[in-house]
């Protein structure tokens, strides 16, 4: 069977100054919730204006993700807590339990950790750096 060619998006399809979608806005809210709840310290403050574009939001998300990935293992959540108001049937409360030791949590995970630097060739969907 013949190999099928897959066209690439044109360079102008990449618009990191695009305003963020409702999806990314929600993702940001979730990260902000954890930033405050866990008292994560970031390298710089992010203003609402900083977070208005995909580029800005992704910088913030990268920082918080890195911080979350570097935290020590914490107990698995066992408590249902509706975010804003009791909007649905919640699960009953229960005491927290420590996470079970697993092959992955013991460092035998097959894939590398999210935060580790790597040297493999980048995915084809990434454009090479533009030259000025």
């Amino acid at each position: 069977m013949a190999t099928i060619r897959v066209p690439a998006p044109p360079p102008e399809a990449f618009r990191k100054d695009r305003p963020i979608s409702d999806l990314v806005k929600s993702q940001l809210k979730h990260f902000q919730h954890l930033e405050h709840k866990l008292q994560i310290h970031l390298s710089k403050p992010f203003t609402p204006r900083d977070l208005a574009t995909e580029a800005g939001a992704s910088q913030y998300i990268a920082e918080v993700t890195a911080a979350l990935c570097s935290r020590a293992p914490v107990p698995v959540p066992v408590r249902a807590t509706p975010a804003q108001r009791p909007n649905s049937t919640p699960a009953p409360r229960s005491s927290r339990k420590p996470a079970k030791a697993t092959r992955q949590s013991q460092g035998l995970a097959i894939a590398a950790s999210a935060g580790r630097k790597h040297h493999t060739k980048k995915h084809a969907a990434k454009h090479p750096k533009k030259k000025s």
Binding site: S26, H33, N87, T102, R103, S105, A109
Partner: protein, 407 residues
């Protein structure tokens, strides 16, 4: 259906990879296949919706890769009610006529001509990856979003078999009664990983999984490396890149490849092809890996198939949360989405007509890797499973399976 474990494709199966894309309906992406593949429940060209002038507007094959669905079509619960039932405030017992998509999109810009674009669909030649995989392997005629609503609650069904009563994008913490598919597998000493694209895109499962179990996660480069090293976890869930951004490692521009409007659909095609090629071209992975490509929800874009009723979830979302007059009992599905099952053990040109939803993902993975497992949501217990489609007695040859070259 539980797969026949005497089948060679099931005996060999070691890995399942799920790639969940963003916000496109079945008809929008695959509806154009019906012309040459009448068994695929796509579009005849006679489907239509009324616009706000009362004119009946037909579907047309004029979808473009980008700049057409801007603003992002509304797909919150009330808007989807309008799209399905013609009334944002009410659902059943109104009939699900699928006649409210144009009116819903009109509400965002009050532009009649622009509202028609919600009916546009792609010709198959514009989506060579998705349409080729759909016709060369198995396409699902009836895979529906789990909830007639937005992304995060729908993705929760793929992780937990329920959204714990959520119908929106709100924060939520999981209930203890149902463990994620990852926790279940880890407890049984299986390997498992969620691969987000990179740290700047990260995951949509922040509050529950990334916060508490960051070791579950890896990047897309980790996924590619695991493929190269024949070290793929038993179960992999892959998330696309949700934003255009500079790669955190300084390697260049990382273009969004989730296909969420208004991101360029071609980037998503390349992303799907990359996942497929990586497995297809590794002879140590291809015979023992199944890949599911599926979209989380329809993104407000037209589909002609009415979503069916389903087993109630045991949770209730109140009217204040649905934004309608009714509470929601998780007893009906969302709009139909594209879904394709890939394996060299799948009969070429398979069309699956059973009903599936995202709870089918943990249902299938649990059934295959763990067997009987009681502590699951009613929805997951009732959900169809899909690995029985790896049913060939002889593996398809390399020449019989497509390969893609990225330009």
């Amino acid at each position: 259906m539980t797969p026949d474990r005497s089948k060679p494709g099931i005996k060999k199966l070691k890995h399942v990879v799920v790639l969940m894309m963003e916000n496109r309906s079945f008809d929008h992406m695959l509806g154009g296949l019906k012309a040459d593949h009448p068994e695929i429940d796509g579009l005849t060209g006679n489907e239509s919706n009324p616009d706000t002038t009362g004119a009946q507007v037909p579907v047309v094959p004029q979808a473009e890769y980008q700049s057409q669905l801007d603003p992002d079509p509304n797909h919150h619960f009330a808007a989807v009610n309008l799209q399905i039932f013609g009334d944002p405030a009410q659902g059943p017992p109104l009939p699900p006529t699928m006649q409210g998509f144009v009116r819903s999109y009109y509400n965002q810009q009050q532009n009649v001509a622009h509202s028609h674009k919600i009916l546009y669909y792609f010709t198959p030649d514009k989506l060579p990856v998705l349409t080729t995989l759909a016709t060369e392997f198995a396409v699902f005629n009836r895979w529906f979003a789990s909830i007639p609503g937005p992304t995060i609650c729908n993705r929760a069904f793929a992780h937990y078999g329920t959204s714990f009563g959520q119908v929106s994008m709100n924060l939520f913490y999981v209930g203890k009664q149902y463990k994620s598919i990852y926790e279940r597998l880890l407890a049984a000493n299986h390997t498992v990983k969620l691969f987000y694209y990179d740290q700047a895109s990260s995951t949509m499962e922040v509050v529950n999984l990334l916060q508490n179990q960051p070791s579950l996660f890896g990047t897309f480069n980790d996924f590619l490396r695991a493929c190269d090293q024949n070290a793929l976890p038993d179960y992999c869930f892959v998330e696309p890149n949700y934003t255009d951004h500079d790669a955190p490692d300084g390697s260049g521009e990382a273009i969004a490849n989730d296909q969420h409007p208004d991101h360029d659909v071609r980037a998503g095609e390349q992303f799907i092809a990359t996942v497929y090629n990586k497995i297809r071209n590794n002879p140590k992975l291809w015979p023992n890996t199944a890949i599911l490509i599926v979209y989380d929800e329809h993104g407000g874009i037209y589909d002609h198939v009415s979503p069916p009723a389903c087993t109630p979830d045991g949770f209730v979302a109140q009217p204040a949360d649905t934004g309608t007059l009714d509470a929601f009992h998780f007893d009906r599905l969302g709009v139909r989405v594209p879904a394709v099952l890939i394996s060299p053990w799948v009969q070429k040109g398979s069309v699956i007509n059973d009903t599936f939803e995202h709870a089918s993902i943990p249902a299938t993975i649990t059934d295959f890797f763990l067997g009987a497992y009681d502590a699951r949501s009613p929805r997951e217990k009732a959900a169809s499973t899909f690995l029985d489609r790896l049913s060939l007695d002889t593996m398809r040859s390399d020449d019989d399976c497509p390969s893609f070259q990225l330009e």
